[in-house]
Symmetry: none
């Protein structure tokens, strides 16, 4: 008994998009303890898709499809599956109604094309799609073979997987042996430094510990196999605690926790508030902070001071300083932090001014030079200088700037607590 | 004649990493004009890898492998390929020397394990690996079948691909026919509506036209096959022009052009400036605008008015209005737009106030309700109401809000030009 993932879409063969769906589904199958041995990508082509369905249905008992459920003639997944198992398609009036209702809600006319999305093989069940128009199917075309289909849109696929596929697979007895993981996240320490600190953990077998790095965030994945999630967590807890103790303040959170959410939690617990003054990040720090629902409790807002006029007129940065030292300088970062703290009347404030590139750098102030200001409730300001390197791209420099700003506030609050 | 990509690695089946290698290779094959119809991922398992090699070598003439070239017992790609074609492995002293030299350079001892990386099937050529220890093979196990192997480390794979595989494939006559594509991008029209407007183009063969949608942006890919990029562009140009004419103002740009960059170009051409007042997007609109290098010419900055205090104190929104109608209302959107336009002294301004969820909605003002204000140089304000639907997630609602705001400004400027 094993599953197999089949992703349908010429855009994948052309390399237009990264296939994040297959990674998500692979993790999900692992966590349910469902083995899977093959992943296949095939284009929007009837004959080749038929070929793949035949091969996969000979070697697996659960076939999971993504993509090809859309309204256009290119979208062939449903009809090709039905044809492979010589089953007619039937129109489901309830799907048609649902699609029409969604178009009406968005005040748009349903196109004739969309009618096709109401077709499923005879006797196939529906996997409802609450956020998009294309439902999936849950179908046993023959004994010991189950087919599940999902649209290629990641957010729709994930919701449908969680709401319908997971309960179904559990009802079939899967998920009894579970693999459960916790991702420990670190900021301010390199992958190899952390790895050498915790290297003895890498030989463990249950739980296992493995390091990763992505977007500057170093991670350790602690994975346990057990009869239940509760038992897996019992295996994970002490190991995770040891790892966190070794890493100290460089550990900031686990799983879905972001730096912004962790900082937000610290502020909320203290009844304190935050504002931001952003130059080179242009709003990115505010956006990170407001990704967390409920952030309005502690985040009041900020000033995007992209031009020097906004720095002087709204944040009261000295024109003289701007002329003499330039916008990317310690004193300007300091005045920006104090200006927004004063203006928005918050306990804390963060400011960012830097050169995100690709232009605008020089020998003295290269691309990647960024100053971060952190004003504390006592109006004392800490300034941090970063040199991210001119070889990094604009988006990376901006993202690292905002993340480091959050991390500076996190460390300041935590060190004050000691 | 077609190629096929086979990625080997249990970490891919566990979903531990995103498979960016396959996307890179897919793009490379497309640009060389080498058709490929299947991508397969298989774990570090001899039997299943053998099975895949047999299936793939029956349907393709170039097999490209990534992964499984490392020194551990898990790394099985080379020996499994050799065994499938019943060919003995031979040790290459020059590879062994190269590996030993690399270890010496890093002041490390070569592990006995690494000796295995010097083995290749008899008569196979070497794909040198300058940055890592594992070389690849370039081998014709039989007429009309070529095998290329690469390590799974993306940077090593890419360098080896460029240095050895591309020249080899060109020497075999590939790359004479190139496939060149242009991506046309649309906003404000659904995929199915656009598809039905341009359906007659979907039957073309050179160039081909295919629709898809991602993150609310509907796209048409126009791909031509020709002897050179210049000739491909000549085939694409008239078809792209026809499609743009049919779509009218819903077409906003092509390839890497974003809504923010297109709006920025319009402002720059007119010598006009923009500021933003953001509530629920928390800085996301500013971030989008400043993703474009050089945006400081037209984008002055903005106010992140996440709390009502910032709305009243910094943007001069009336406290009475906020109390009576709430922050998510037409008049507040209007005052926010006028407030930031006045304060930052810009030609145009955009404001966004809405309920991004998941909490904070009610029957009267559901999650997904968003007002966008657009203040023109004459200080007249247009207000737009959107209902994105409570079933959408917070990030989607925020991203759609910022994108629609940019699109409203784009349409306003373009319609004024007529």
């Amino acid at each position: 008994m094993s599953a197999e993932i089949i992703c349908v879409g010429t855009e994948l063969l052309l390399g237009d998009i990264v296939n994040t769906n297959v990674q998500y589904l692979a993790q999900q199958l692992a966590s349910l303890g469902i083995p899977h041995y093959y992943q296949t990508v095939v284009g929007d082509n009837r004959d080749r898709l038929t070929e793949i369905i035949k091969i996969a249905s000979d070697r697996a008992s659960i076939l999971i499809f993504t993509g090809g459920l859309g309204p256009t003639p290119d979208d062939l997944t449903t009809e090709t599956i039905a044809a492979t198992f010589e089953t007619p398609l039937v129109e489901h009036p309830e799907i048609l109604e649902d699609i029409a209702a969604k178009f009406a809600q968005r005040r748009r006319q349903m196109a004739p094309n969309n009618r096709k999305q109401a077709l499923l093989p005879e006797k196939a069940g529906i996997i409802p799609n609450r956020s998009g128009t294309a439902p999936g199917m849950l179908w046993q075309p023959r004994p010991n073979l189950t087919i599940l289909t999902f649209p290629g849109v990641p957010s729709e696929m994930r919701l449908m997987w969680q709401e319908t596929a997971v309960p179904y697979l559990r009802s079939q007895g899967w998920g009894k042996q579970v693999i459960h993981s916790r991702l420990l996240k670190f900021w301010g320490i390199g992958e190899s430094t952390l790895a050498s600190k915790v290297s003895k953990f890498f030989d463990m077998t249950n739980p296992t510990v493995a390091p990763y790095a992505l977007d500057g965030i170093v991670k350790l994945r602690v994975s346990a196999r057990a009869a239940s999630e509760v038992e897996a967590v019992e295996l994970i807890d002490p190991v995770a605690q040891d790892l966190q103790d070794i890493a100290g303040i460089d550990y900031f959170g686990s799983d879905e926790e972001t730096l912004a959410a962790v900082v937000g939690g610290l502020l909320r617990d203290r009844g304190e508030t935050l504002s931001v003054a952003e130059s080179c990040t242009g709003g990115g720090l505010g956006q990170m902070l407001t990704e967390t629902p409920g952030s309005s409790v502690y985040f009041h807002g900020g000033i995007i001071a992209y031009s020097n006029e906004v720095k002087t007129h709204v944040l009261a940065v000295s024109q003289e300083l701007l002329t003499q030292l330039g916008a990317v300088s310690e004193p300007v970062a300091k005045q920006m932090a104090l200006g927004v703290q004063e203006r928005l009347k918050t306990s804390w404030s963060l400011s960012i001014t830097g050169i995100a590139g690709p232009g605008g750098g020089n020998d003295c102030k290269p691309v990647g030079l960024v100053y971060i200001g952190l004003a504390a409730p006592d109006r004392r300001v800490d300034i941090f200088e970063y040199r991210f390197g001119a070889e990094r791209d604009r988006e990376t420099i901006r993202r690292l700037s905002a993340s480091h700003a959050l991390d500076r506030l996190r460390r300041k609050i935590l060190s004050g607590d000691r």
